[in-house]
């Protein structure tokens, strides 16, 4: 070596000897086969470039290496006892940037399936057991009664879906039971009525779509939920399904076809764009000169390519200035709720949503708008740390649309 400190690699293991006195492990072919069978076979493509680690949101709050997990998976030595395999929120950044087409999400889920089969769940995710049980017994993850699923719509005179209706409004668990999100469900119902949409809901016949529990490795519960929903859809002649949650959207569109069905799925942001463009929905009013920034939910944007419709809806509202945050569109920073982590314990210092809120406020916006129940939940949680009286708001795009509609009705 010359006179310089030419560094090879960096930090961590460095220097002679440090790599030789470490623990020895041998590969486990049986485990590799299990991971492959569970859909994680793309680990073979990995050439350990580190791009996944670099783009992973976890590395903004602590050290986490999905690259290491992929390597361990390829060797059949995943460490299922550690917290690490539960961290991934399935946000989709790493597979979208991976030069080799490795499917990190599938690999992670495959490992979780093994852990679930062995019932190995470390403390931060021990709630998943309870969630699975609730889904099995009452079709929702929140420990609520199935019978109470349509309580949010009590005073709205909504109809039960029947064959021949224009669209089934599949409400979703959070919108049905969570007080904050029930406001969104009601806003949607109001908008649909004003637009004269011929729609119905399933009420207590509706079960959780199962998207998130599947990502925690609980394939059995997912299958049961999916089969139940599909049977309900078929029995009721469902053709077109309107959803508000990008997670429901994702699983209905991309995963339910595994069961050989083919329903037409539309997200509320797409539907709103349709209604406004066709003139069925007239938004006469304006918002109060609001600067709004839109957060792309992982499951709407990255996973399903829907970036423009929500923005077009917002831009169509008068009195709105739309600004973009850093990390927008394909690079959107995950709120931390996917992959089952909406049910996990995340220490305050490790919450992506706090970082996202800071990015939102950096734009000077007064409203952080989004279109996903997990994002709304997490951002509202982050908002609690703001000063008392801070006017910053977290809104679903449908709430903003209804606000504009109602402002128009008030003045007329």
């Amino acid at each position: 070596m010359g006179q310089g400190e030419g560094r090879d690699d960096q930090n961590g293991q460095q220097g002679p000897g440090s790599l030789t006195d470490v623990e020895t492990v041998a590969p486990f072919p049986e485990v590799i086969d299990e991971i492959k069978a569970a859909g994680g076979d793309a680990f073979t493509y990995c050439y350990q470039c580190g791009k996944c680690d670099v783009v992973c949101p976890w590395n903004r709050v602590r050290d986490f290496s999905i690259r290491k997990i992929v390597l361990q998976a390829s060797l059949g030595i995943p460490d299922i006892e550690l917290d690490e395999i539960w961290r991934c929120t399935t946000c989709g950044r790493c597979p979208s940037e991976c030069p080799r087409g490795v499917n990190q999400i599938e690999i992670g889920v495959a490992i979780r399936r093994i852990a679930t089969a062995y019932d190995v769940l470390p403390a931060p995710v021990s709630a998943y057991r309870r969630v699975g049980a609730s889904l099995a017994s009452d079709g929702n993850p929140l420990g609520e009664a199935r019978e109470a699923r349509d309580a949010w719509a009590e005073d709205l005179s909504l109809r039960t879906y029947t064959e021949g209706m224009e669209v089934l409004f599949f409400v979703g668990c959070y919108y049905s039971y969570d007080p904050r999100l029930q406001k969104v469900a009601r806003a949607i119902a109001e908008i649909l009525k004003r637009a004269g949409v011929d729609f119905g809901i399933l009420g207590r016949m509706e079960s959780c779509c199962g998207e998130s529990i599947r990502k925690t490795g609980n394939e059995e519960v997912f299958k049961n939920l999916a089969r139940s929903n599909i049977k309900t859809f078929i029995d009721n002649g469902v053709k077109r399904i309107l959803v508000a949650s990008p997670h429901c959207f994702h699983t209905f569109k991309n995963e339910y076809p595994e069961f050989m069905v083919n329903f037409e799925i539309v997200h509320i942001s797409q539907f709103l764009a349709e209604l406004i463009e066709s003139g069925r929905l007239e938004v006469k009013g304006a918002l109060d000169n609001k600067k709004i920034t839109y957060h792309d939910p992982c499951y709407l944007g990255r996973h399903n390519g829907i970036y423009d419709e929500p923005r077009n809806v917002l831009k169509s509202l008068a009195g709105v200035e739309l600004v973009e945050m850093a990390d927008s569109r394909e690079k959107s920073l995950c709120c931390g709720g996917g992959g089952g982590r909406i049910w996990a314990e995340t220490p305050k210092t490790e919450r992506f949503a706090d970082l996202r809120m800071a990015q939102a406020r950096d734009t000077g916006a007064q409203v952080l708008a989004t279109a996903c129940p997990y994002c709304v939940t997490n951002f509202e949680e982050s908002r609690l740390s703001l000063d008392e009286g801070d006017p910053f708001q977290v809104k679903d795009i449908t709430e903003l649309v209804l606000e504009a509609i109602q402002a128009g009705e008030a003045t007329s």
Binding site: D9, G15, Q48, C49, D63, S65
Partner: protein, 1023 residues
């Protein structure tokens, strides 16, 4: 047939399409082999991408300095007609009889009238982004593309105000020669040729298309080609590296590898662009040259330092202070608005993701096919491969899918300059085989003005001082140097120029010689190494003997090394010029020798390289003596069964051998031993013992194709355990269907065995691809078999990267290790008691040591120089490099020539390489040999030694020191005297300084001439 120069504009032998370094080399070799060449280039000047580079790896030669003399060679060569700013429209016909329709784009300047004075440029009111400088600076709408352009004629860009709106025609009015014609239209021209060499090069990946790494939106993210222009003294800031946002010097720079390459995503290339690793190291070294305090981070995923001298070059960059190589692909964090700085996020093995702030980010962009590749394929009737490059014969990358159309250079695929140059010479050989019947028929001799006898004249020295752009001019006060020169004795004329090497300036020197009656010339500029031949030729054009010339190096010896001491440097430049003037006054006219050329060639070595070059020469009608030390032909290829691309090597080899035996012009000797070889270019005499007979072969050229060997490992239990084999041995076992392979359920391969280490500090280039090849084969035979490859860097460069991906796809496992934690192999038993070889390898990402129980361990043993090399080197008086491979004349631009004239090399004796690379180089060696063999005589230098018989005391000391064996005993039996064979003498002067009586003198460097220089040096000290 000797025709007046330039008389045939529509008929020639070969058309070379593309005037980059590859096209230029092809044109020069073809023209020097007796063919009339049309060199077609779509830009306003020849030069290509190499002209835009600052320096070239791994020698760090100034790119333009080594390339531009070739421009002038092309310009002055009577057999080459340059058609610049011209594109191909249509190609009809067939091999031997093509009709090409060309469109000459309007320059709006009449080439034959323009003097290159640049007055039009001065007056042009419109500034446009300068394409040569990657649009980082502006230039006028009418300008010369770059200063050394050939032809040295401006062109008018389409954005010109007249061409857009018919507003403004100032240039037309200020041109004193009425050379501007704004109404020029495209002109069609039809040319008939026998063969076509396609060398359109490549285009760099455009990171702006997808906005990769913020390129196009973040100001201080630039591409490597942008940075190349920033580095260059002819660039946007005259060699000051100034970053785009605020034109400040960046002190902390990041380089990102593989931008656009090695990826499966849409819009990128799946292959490896082969040169980026090395060019990034070059840029790091140069950036540190510019500012020693620069901090550099290089983000990569494997360093592909696979070529000759690349590994050392890599280490050179790595060992510079403040330079960090980081194994991680990256993401741009953010642009910091206040400073314009950019942050990069990168992964560490065990320390999470780090964010680092940089002043400037450079993207190592990949090499893609030329933008008009589809059009070219259509026009020339060629097929493209899946990456859009020219589809070529898997064993001969110079052959396209159309007979008579050859491809050279990067249109074959991403490659470096030596490969481009070799394939260009190879294209000469292949064209020569096709057109051998017409060789020489359109040959035009160069006609120089008559050389005037100056012996009675008063000595009149002309001094021409060059600014070399800013290289010299920024440090040395050239005007004051010129004034000083005017005051020196015998100096009749002194002037300065911006780039004296440009065609017009060089031509002006010839004119000035004639007009002012100068009979001595001093050029104060750069190095004679690159530019002396050009200026000597200029003296001949001026009508005086070329040896009346001296070059004062005020760049390498002055401005480049004293760049911070301008006053002292100027004084030193004056001293150097004074010395040169003193020397040049005393110089004598010397004549060069014409030596006859024997048209036969001796090819030493009957492997793929030797056989290919032998056939290449024989197919062109030249006699070849092929000598092989084994009893069979074939060399190392006898042990190779397939190539990575799936070629059946054994069948191809058998066919190649059959062709050699059948060719009437090739004479093969087996079990041959060369006992002696003497002579000089065009006239070698070699004695060969073969199969009991001793033969004397007379030949004009020699091609050394002596091959290489496989290292016999001493580690990893090789030789101690029969379950440990080398890759070649594995290939053999597979071919034979040996049970050792059949029963091996788990195979572990270990890379870099016996190379990239102390004592053998180079990369053996082929092993990563061989490992992947054998791994794929093993998987094909048994998909359930486990195959592991333990690597330091996967060096599957170029299109071979696709096979690396395929192997990964098929489940071959790749585990990275560092020299600090090498793999270990131990005989053991597994849990079930089966005997295995346990291979342990620590991996930094895992943070653990992986133990794999192997049934078979395969070592990728290095390719090492043949043990016979030292003896061959001694016999043929050729040098070897520090690694023991043969040393060519110039790593970049003369990769198949030895410095000794008439001796060439090809194949793995040059450096390890793949079969198709060997074939390309072998044709290249044949192509270069033909530039000699196609002539009846060869010219030797006049600067040779002479013995003064009366002073010689016959002590023989001179003979002891002569490395070329140029001195032997002459005189009479009674009075022996040393005698110099002028043809062998290389003029190094060792004998002169050794001779005790000063009886031997080196013409052009006589004692008087040298002393006069020393006296002049010290004259101002003593006065």
């Amino acid at each position: 047939m000797i025709l007046p120069a330039g008389s045939l504009h529509d008929f020639g032998d070969v058309m070379v399409v593309g005037g980059g370094i590859s096209g230029i080399q092809a044109a020069l070799d073809l023209a020097s082999s007796g063919f009339k060449v049309f060199l077609v280039e779509k830009k306003p000047t020849i030069g290509g991408k190499m002209a835009q580079l600052d320096k070239t790896f791994p020698t760090n030669d100034c790119s333009m300095c080594i390339e531009s003399p070739k421009f002038i060679e092309c310009d002055r060569h009577p057999n080459i007609e340059i058609l610049s700013y011209t594109e191909v429209e249509r190609v009809e016909g067939e091999a031997g009889d093509f009709k090409v329709t060309l469109v000459r784009k309007p320059r709006y300047v009449k080439e034959d009238v323009c003097t290159g004075c640049t007055t039009c440029t001065e007056y042009c009111p419109l500034n446009i982004p300068d394409p040569f400088n990657q649009e980082l600076s502006t230039n006028k709408a009418t300008h010369i593309y770059f200063s050394q352009a050939v032809p040295l004629v401006p062109y008018i860009d389409d954005q010109c105000l007249y061409l857009q709106d018919e507003k403004c025609s100032i240039c037309e009015s200020v041109c004193e020669n009425q050379a501007i014609d704004l109404r020029q239209k495209p002109e069609r021209q039809t040319v008939k040729v026998g063969a076509i060499v396609l060398s359109p090069g490549y285009d760099t990946f455009d990171p702006g298309e997808r906005g990769d790494y913020g390129y196009g939106s973040i100001k201080n993210v630039v591409s490597s080609m942008d940075f190349e222009r920033l580095l260059c003294s002819t660039g946007p800031h005259e060699g000051e590296i100034l970053r785009p946002s605020d034109h400040k010097h960046p002190h902390k720079i990041a380089w990102i590898h593989c931008v656009g390459s090695r990826q499966q995503q849409d819009g990128g290339y799946s292959y490896c662009s082969a040169v980026c690793c090395s060019y990034i190291q070059k840029q790091v070294i140069l950036a540190k040259d510019h500012d020693a305090d620069t901090e550099a981070f290089i983000f990569h995923n494997d360093i592909r330092a696979y070529g000759k001298d690349f590994e050392r070059f890599y280490q050179r960059a790595k060992n510079l202070p403040g330079v960090s190589f980081v194994r991680s692909y990256v993401e741009i964090g953010r642009e910091i608005p206040e400073t314009g700085n950019v942050t990069i996020r990168y992964a560490t093995d065990a320390g999470g993701v780090k964010e680092e702030e940089f002043d400037l980010v450079v993207l190592g962009v990949g090499l893609g096919p030329p933008a008009d590749n589809q059009k070219l394929a259509g026009q020339f009737g060629l097929e493209l491969n899946k990456h859009g490059f020219c589809k070529t014969n898997p064993v001969n990358p110079i052959e396209t899918t159309r007979e008579g159309v050859f491809v050279s250079g990067a249109f074959q695929g991403p490659m470096d300059i030596p490969e481009s140059v070799m394939s260009a010479s190879g294209a000469n050989a292949l064209s020569g085989a096709l057109l051998k019947a017409r060789r020489g028929m359109l040959d035009t001799a160069r006609v120089y003005p008559e050389e005037r006898d100056v012996s009675e004249e008063e000595v009149k020295v002309g001094v021409f001082a060059c600014h070399c752009g800013a290289n010299i001019g920024r440090v040395v006060n050239v005007p004051s140097l010129v004034e000083y020169a005017k005051g020196l004795g015998h100096v009749a004329h002194a002037e300065e120029g911006l780039f004296i090497c440009s065609t017009d300036a060089a031509a002006e020197i010839a004119d000035t010689i004639r007009e002012k009656g100068l009979n001595r010339v001093v050029v104060a500029a750069c190095t004679p190494r690159t530019h002396e031949p050009l200026f000597r030729d200029t003296l001949r054009e001026g009508g005086i003997n070329q040896y009346f010339f001296d070059m004062a190096n005020i760049r390498e010896h002055c401005s480049w090394v004293h760049s911070k001491q301008k006053e002292e440097a100027t004084q030193k430049a004056k001293d150097i010029v004074r010395m040169s003037v003193a020397r040049v006054v005393g110089l004598e006219p010397l004549q060069e020798f014409e030596l006859p050329v024997n048209k036969a060639t001796l090819v030493v070595g009957g492997g793929v390289a030797g056989m290919t070059s032998a056939l290449s020469l024989a197919n062109q009608g030249f006699e070849v003596h092929l000598v092989e030390k084994d009893k069979d032909l074939g060399g190392m290829a006898r042990r190779i069964h397939t190539t990575l691309e799936g070629v059946d090597v054994q069948t191809w080899l058998r066919d190649l051998i059959r062709q050699v035996y059948r060719h009437p012009m090739i004479h093969v000797s087996h079990e041959a031993k060369i006992t002696d070889t003497t002579g000089y270019v065009g006239n070698f005499v070699t004695t060969v013992e073969s199969e009991g007979r001793v033969r004397t072969i007379r030949h004009g050229a020699t091609i050394l194709a002596t091959g290489a060997e496989e290292h016999r490992p001493t580690e990893y239990l090789y030789g101690e355990d029969e379950r440990v084999v080398t890759q070649l041995e594995l290939e053999d076992l597979i071919a034979k269907g040996d049970e050792k392979v059949g029963a091996a359920g788990r195979v572990v391969m270990i890379q870099c065995v016996g190379c990239r280490q102390e004592g053998r500090n180079y990369c053996a280039r082929v092993c990563c691809s061989q490992a992947v090849k054998n791994a794929l084969r093993l998987k094909e035979l048994d998909p359930d078999r486990e195959v592991w490859v333990l690597y330091r860097d996967m060096r599957t460069y170029g299109f071979r990267e696709d096979y690396y991906y395929e192997a990964a796809q098929k489940g071959v496992r790749f585990i990275h290790w560092e020299p600090e934690g090498r793999p270990e192999v131990e005989a053991a038993t597994d849990e079930e008691g089966k005997p295995v070889l346990q291979v342990g390898v620590p991996n930094a990402v895992l943070g653990q040591r992986l133990a794999v129980d192997a049934d078979l361990v395969v070592l990728s043993a290095a390719v090492v120089p043949s043990q016979g090399n030292p003896e061959v080197a001694r016999l043929f008086k050729v040098p070897t490099n520090p690694d023991g491979f043969f040393q060519e004349a110039h790593v970049k631009l003369r990769p198949v020539d030895f410095a000794a004239d008439g001796v060439f090399l090809c194949g793995t004796n040059h450096y390890p390489k793949h079969i198709q690379e060997t074939v390309s180089q072998a044709h290249g060696a044949a192509g270069r040999a033909v530039t000699l063999l196609s002539h009846d005589t060869v010219t030797a230098s006049g600067s040779v030694c002479q013995v003064n018989d009366s002073a010689c005391i016959a002590c023989g000391a001179c003979m002891d020191v002569c490395a070329y064996g140029a001195i032997s005993w002459g005189g009479t039996r009674a009075a022996k005297r040393a005698e110099v064979n002028a043809a062998l003498c290389k003029g190094d002067g060792l004998c002169c300084s050794t001779c005790p009586t000063g009886a031997i003198d080196l013409r052009h460097f006589t004692d008087e001439e040298v002393f006069s220089q020393i006296d002049a040096a010290l004259s101002e000290v003593w006065s």
